[in-house]
Symmetry: C2
């Protein structure tokens, strides 16, 4: 094991990482927030929702009893073993996820090594008491230790029959690899001999001892691992050993001696021989590790509250490394990458658990276990099947076989890719293990966006030879420039490059680089190695264990098949097949997108059908309408195919950037009189009409909200500073020219339009008020298109939306223009078209005076992007300068532009809805900011009773699923 | 009379004018707003406040009775005359100011020509009915006309004894010259002969007739005045006449014939001979004139609601132009410019009232009337004295003497300069006519800022010869470049020049030019001419009737004493003495400022003593504390002398711009590591400490609120585009140089700091969070200064204010820094200093989450400038691009940066106060935006229960007076 201690990254990097991480697990984050509220509300964790959930599953009496020690004090230590347990799986707040599951498995009669859990409350006490554990809790621990000794039939420190234990952290939420673990605790100079005598395996005994010293030294004594590794390598060298296993008992004895010497030198005292002292040290180190930099960083990214603390699990050691009849492994009850219903996992014979996860030896597929240890394998299959039925979800388990005896070390609901999530949820419904409603609640809405990620362009992909093949750890097509460190990945990405992070193995420290990379490629490790687990969790294409890669981090290159690939060269791989190729490959739409676009028939795509089935179930549960933010007909078509029923935001100015249009737009802006401006607008009219016609048509009569021009006009002109530089250059060259004159003229107009704060400037409704002819042209284009469609039999109801309204009179002014022109068009065309006039609520004054604005507005759409900018006073374009510091200092838990700030911005939304409906009870209210596609924001919008959310086309499936979950979980007006 | 019809100005100009106009009459505006609410609440005007006021003065029964006609319908026409009246002075809503006063004067037995008032409700009906008057109201008018004929003993249209009437507008608020007036109505081909017979004065009769045709033609028939003037000049030419009075009866007969021809040609029909038709036409024209461009513009500037409408006053004509025993005049019971208790005004013998106001003939001082018509003069003195006692305020009256018989035409409270207001209010208290409380309520807070306006540097002023002398219409020293049209005045001012508007006479059309000019200088007109009235009202230095000026608008020059002054040359004048000089004269502080600064002793300045007395009374009535926005010790001293008791905003970054400091500040910003940054900060520390020491000292132990650094750092560096241009130029010259390298380096850093929306960028608390060392330095400087003072015996309580806080955690972060450093300093210095940590509430989220923020904040100060920017989404720097259009289209009544938007921004202030105090009941709350010195905003702050307002030093007196009025007029929590 060569994990490096995590170092804290610079704030800027952390900041950028945070944002999307927050998104990718937003559903989970929401759950955590709810949990955090519960926890924060005060322990004992008997707060309402928790209590409700618990009481449904076990009698209240038992629960209450479990919270007290015999002597009537608060209970901090929970025993499990021999078919019983003080705790159960509902007690994750108190026992952490691992502790609760161990208790539950023990209750269920599974072969779980006995042990006890020191609760998260003890962690809170530990920090409250200035990082010490009070004697009462310590006593409780020792009492439980005695119970464990009885159960195990062995005694801690007894040389003749020594009990060894593992000490592991276990918080409510899984934080893989983030906190510390110590194995083989109880080893000392006496017990090692006892072990040797009992197992008749001196090599095993001393190997266990040296591992213990190394772990304890690193974790408890805080000695750099390298100090031990250095000694170990030295002895190997001295002995001419290549592999660790080349060292025999004698050599390992020397290793132990040297390790103890290292510990003494570095810690200033002898390595502790008293097992109870060891246990106390390990316990405190685990509590301490809750606040190591790595763990803090992880919690920040995954929005896990700091206050919840970790539990400590002390468990009888079982050994997968006592010989060839022993093994250790991890697995899933289904394939966590594809969702296929297959027993899935890997194991190593004669190894300890950490060896599998660390990815140092490449393990065997789990089905092979049936050949090696068939009885244990059968028992494992039986037990894990049972676990899946109990938990009604895919299980992620760890086991050890010690001398043919199977022990279950852990089980939990398995993390999975979005692809697998959809497959598993639909399968579980088919298998009648869960209901459609449960299926809808089971899938993280954010994760299904992975299903829309592009694959490779097949021809280009086929054209390249396969350079090597690794384990397909996380599906998806990835192509980018090779980089070899996480820091480089971040730096190159910052420069706008797409990178593949190529590593021998990844460690928690690499998290930030993995996060920004297109894909992760490692040379070692299995399907459950760090790279694989984290890659899947992120929905990031990953291939691990591509053993033929020879990676040199120092020279920033790798070799494969005689070819050397340097930093910056392109690498591509397919995370579903494990194939790696050298070169850049264009991508192509995902299978679902191919169906959506009609390139593939739905019946030819299994995943599309499942996706569709799941979302159809979701549609049955949701209350919120789903619309799309789409500006062009093709976007509207995609959105419709994804299930959007209406457009919530069609930005008309995006059309101005269309081919051949910008010169006309510029002519319109540069006109110094209304007549010239109108002439240019007349040229734009047929183009806009055509755009609207296309968008309306693509929506098949569903409502389409069209926003009149929003950005300041200078956005359509050359940049002021560019003109200034051009002029300076031309003038310095001393030449007078027509070009110079023209630039001067243009600069004068640009100067007139220049703004110090464009966000707060002459834009939105303010443009319509100063240039009503623009509103007129746009209204005319909208209404003419609608009339044309009406004549063709499609009756669309355009919703004309005036942006940036803060005062009812602004809207009144523009509504008068719209109504006048609409009446003209209807009269000219002789077709009846119904339309609505409404506004975006995006300046705080709009929300605050929504009662007045609703006198005129027939609908509201919350523009939460601008509302967030103005409510915080944060420029979205400039926030990068301080957001990192804000997140480092825990001032903001999350980027308010990604997830709505319910306390501040959300309060304005709430006020706006209430006031608006106080004037106009049937007021249609939606949201069209980026938050419309963010699951936890959707929960909030459900709560405040919006009518619909509008999201970008590719976020529509996420929004549909999130809306269904929201409807099932929250009550409007909560 | 040669008034031009007002033309509407371009929106940009109107916009810029509006702003300050809104300010200068903010108190009056507040009164109007209250009135508007009353009116808008629905007529009959029996809304609460009005009713309360009325019932105190007259029995309710009479009031109720007055509202019905005999036949039980609504009453629209109110008669007055012969010592009686249907209305009274409390009925301004219904009868307009003029109508109500005529009724009151009539009731009081004053010699008022009889007449009737058609109410403002009829105006509302007129517009509601599509610009027609329904028959019922018309009948009511005719009935009253009959009553008037009876009272006058003459009959409209009776050739043998014709009644002539005037028809005038009269809204609730005086709008001088804005709407139309018609005199001599009833004249036709028959009655002119009757007039001639009765007066034995054919010239007078035909002159009256031609005046009537001209006015009726212009106002009712809408024929350009020039058409008539052209004919008139032609006849004068034909007859070799120089003056109007050179024309005899025969010539005037011809004028009448030609005028009737003009009317026929232009209107397409004969000039109406039926007097009743004339009356109806005139009545409707007055109603119509309520919505002429000039009137709309005026209402916009003075914030008079559009909905209130105008009344029409029809009154028996009396003639000041029947011969040498007749006269007409206007006057004030006291001097409206200086406030001196002297009978004041002017008159013309043998003239009509319009001749005086129009400023065509220069009238005689009113005291001369005693020599010309002693009996009428004595009666006038007696009556006006009585009026002043009745109204308990200076009266502005109009009178006419017809054949030695005095008629009072109008009386109203006189407009006055700020100087006069203070003198009059203090005198009236001395005379026991009013109480100090009434004195405080009588003075417009805005107007007293005129007393602080600078005068001339005496030596420089004396050094120049007097070029001419005019009438001192409005006091104050003015110096600037001569311009000759209002449009030029606006244009030159826009270019940053200071101008004196030089005009033969001013007309309402010149309003926008008068508004921007430093002073107004006219060649004709008296103390009550348009220029004089408007100049005083604006507090603008003005001299009128400087008859020796020969002004040529065409050649843009004027001559005086043989010297020709061209456009752009400097002119200076003293509005208090009437002296005009050619050349530029530096100004010097006003007398009050001289006392404040110690150059003059209080006992030597009468005006200072009065000013001080008035404000001391005000202090006795106010609840709000008054603080100053002051950054430097000298500002703090001035503020203290003006009565500020504490500093509400000390902007620390202003100190950064001090001499020799900016290079250090730049070094601090350009530092690429914390150590270098700290080194630069260490250099700034002693400077800041010194600044704070000075400010604290100047405040004599009153609280001082110091804001930590607020602006984005790039504000201290060269401009990005300037650097880009420099580099482009250097590069184009092809030379490599050290300068170029340095500029490149600087540009790189500037680019890093560049922001798209600096207002929403990396500033305020965000700087403190990213660079805590700046907060540390500033805290240290503050605390060290406070410790030093404490040792010297002055115990100051610094209030350290963190700007731009939107989230409680931002404040918590910075408060921790402040507390840590403060504790260090206190320990080092061994002196106990109490300090508070608070925040500005200036981002909407701060207001919305004020309950959370108050957990940390020990005080709040509303930064209403930024709060207005963010609540509206208006950049203060960019609003000019559309504010004009907004005001033209009545979307915004007033500039929200000048007067707080109570509906939107004010609502956030209210929420912030309530939420803040819900957490911390004793929370100290103030306001430090520009609104702190705006009287109507101060009313609002009183209402929401702030503890203090903070204003710029020169606005302190305004704020003190406004706060007293607010306390007397509003109840906290209203």
């Amino acid at each position: 094991m060569a994990k490096k201690l995590a170092r804290k990254k610079s704030s800027a990097k952390s900041g950028s990482r945070k944002t999307t991480a927050g998104r990718s697990t937003a559903k989970a984050a929401a759950a955590r927030r709810r949990a955090a509220r519960k926890t924060a509300a005060g322990k004992p964790a008997g707060s309402k929702p928790a209590a409700r959930k618990v009481s449904a599953r076990r009698p209240a009496a038992r629960r209450a009893g479990a919270r007290k020690t015999g002597r009537g004090g608060r209970k901090y230590v929970y025993f499990f073993g021999r078919g019983k347990a003080d705790g159960d799986r509902t007690m994750k707040d108190l026992l952490g996820g691992k502790g609760a599951n161990l208790a539950e498995m023990s209750r269920a009669g599974l072969p779980v090594p006995a042990g006890f859990t020191i609760s998260t409350e003890a962690c809170t006490v530990y920090y409250k008491e200035g990082r010490t554990i009070p004697p009462a809790i310590d006593r409780e621990m020792v009492e439980n230790l005695r119970k464990l000794e009885a159960a195990a039939g062995a005694t801690l420190g007894d040389p003749s029959n020594p009990l060894l234990v593992s000490v592991r952290s276990g918080a409510k939420f899984s934080m893989p690899g983030m906190m510390d673990t110590i194995l083989n605790l109880g080893m000392n100079d006496q017990t090692v001999e006892g072990m040797k005598a009992r197992t008749n395996n001196g090599r095993f005994a001393y190997d266990s001892y040296r591992r213990f010293i190394q772990m304890f030294g690193a974790v408890v004594l805080e000695i750099p691992k390298e100090a031990f590794e250095h000694e170990f390598e030295r002895i190997k060298e001295e002995r001419g050993a290549h592999l660790d296993t080349d060292l025999g008992e004698k050599a390992l004895k020397e290793v132990v001696a040297r390790f103890k010497e290292v510990a003494r030198e570095r810690s200033g005292r002898d390595f502790p021989q008293d097992p109870l002292e060891q246990l106390r040290g390990a316990r405190d180190a685990v509590f301490r590790s809750w606040n190591n930099a790595r763990a803090i960083e992880y919690r920040r990214i995954y929005e896990i509250p700091d206050a919840i603390g970790t539990a400590v699990n002390v468990q009888m050691m079982v050994f997968g490394n006592t010989g060839e009849r022993s093994a250790t492994g991890v697995g899933f009850t289904r394939n966590p990458a594809t969702g296929a219903n297959e027993f899935y996992g890997e194991f190593l014979v004669n190894a300890q658990g950490e060896d599998v996860v660390a990815g140092i030896r490449t393990p065997q597929p789990i089905v092979e276990l049936g050949k090696v240890l068939p009885e244990a394998y059968e028992q494992l299959r039986e037990i894990t099947s049972r676990l899946e039925k109990t938990y009604r979800d895919i299980q992620d388990f760890e086991f050890t076989i010690q001398d043919e005896q199977l022990y279950m070390l852990q089980t939990r609901n398995g993390k999975r890719t979005g692809y697998a999530a959809v497959v598993i949820a639909t399968d579980l419904v088919e298998e009648k293990l869960i209901t459609p409603k449960e299926a809808v609640l089971q899938v993280d809405p954010e994760s299904i966006s992975q299903l829309l990620a592009p694959g490779f362009e097949p021809k280009a992909w086929k054209a390249l030879p396969v350079a090597t093949k690794g384990l397909p750890a996380s599906p998806g097509a990835a192509s980018g420039q090779a980089v070899f460190t996480a820091d480089d990945a971040v730096e190159w990405t910052r420069q706008g490059k797409q990178v593949i992070l190529v590593r021998k193995e990844t460690v928690p420290d690499d998290f930030h680089g993995m996060f920004v990379a297109q894909g992760i490629l490692t040379a070692t490790g299995g399907m459950t190695s760090h790279a694989a687990v984290v890659g899947r969790q992120m929905g990031k294409p990953s291939i691990v264990g591509a053993g033929s890669l020879e990676i040199s981090e120092r020279s920033r290159s790798f070799s494969v098949g005689g070819q050397t690939i340097k930093e910056g060269e392109y690498v591509s791989f397919d995370g579903l097949t494990g194939e790696v190729k050298i070169g850049q490959v264009p991508s192509r739409p995902s299978e679902i997108l191919q169906v959506i676009s009609g390139e593939m028939q739905p019946e030819d795509s299994d995943i599309y059908q499942r996706f569709h089935r799941l979302l159809s179930w979701a549609d049955g549960f949701r209350r919120l309408g789903i619309r799309a933010n789409a500006d062009q007909p093709d976007q509207a078509e995609t959105a419709y195919a994804f299930g959007a029923r209406g457009i919530g935001l069609c930005r008309t100015e995006h059309m101005f950037f269309g081919e051949g249009r910008i010169p006309i737009v510029q002519r319109m802006i540069l006109a110094d009189n209304e007549a010239d401006r109108r002439r240019a607008l007349d040229e734009l009219l047929p183009m806009q009409r055509e755009d609207f016609y296309g968008v309306f048509k693509a929506m098949h009569g569903e409502p389409v909200t069209i926003r009149t021009i929003d950005p300041p006009l200078h956005e359509f002109l050359p940049k002021r500073e560019d003109l200034m530089v051009d002029i300076a250059r031309l003038e310095a060259q001393g030449k007078k020219s027509k070009e110079l004159d023209e630039k001067h003229t243009l600069l004068r107009r640009v100067e007139q339009l220049h703004e110090f704060n464009p966000m707060l400037g002459h834009r939105g409704v303010r443009l319509g008020i100063t240039y009503p002819e623009i509103t007129e042209m746009q209204t005319r284009a909208i209404m003419e298109a609608a009339c044309q469609l009406a004549r063709e039999g499609t009756h669309v109801i355009p919703e004309i939306m005036i942006p940036l309204v803060g005062h009812v009179k602004e809207l009144r002014d523009q509504k008068a223009v719209v109504d006048r022109v609409a009446a003209e068009v209807i009269k000219e065309q002789g077709v009846a078209v119904t339309y609505l006039v409404g506004t975006m609520i995006e300046v705080p004054r709009g929300a605050i005076t929504a009662d007045e604005i609703a006198q005129e507005a027939e609908f509201f759409s919350f523009g939460t992007n601008d509302l967030t900018q103005l409510t915080f006073g944060f420029s979205r374009d400039d926030i990068g300068k301080f957001l990192g510091a804000y997140q480092d200092r825990k001032i903001l838990d999350k980027d308010p532009f990604a997830t709505i700030d319910t306390v501040g911005v959300g309060q304005l939304v709430r006020i706006g809805v209430q006031k608006g409906r106080s004037t106009r009870p049937k007021l249609k209210v939606g949201i069209c900011g980026e938050h419309g596609g963010d699951p936890s924001s959707v929960h909030f919008f459900e709560q405040v009773g919006l009518d619909y959310v509008s999201a970008s086309p590719y976020r529509i499936p996420v929004a549909r699923l999130a809306a269904a979950q929201a409807a099932l979980q929250v009550k409007v007006g909560d």
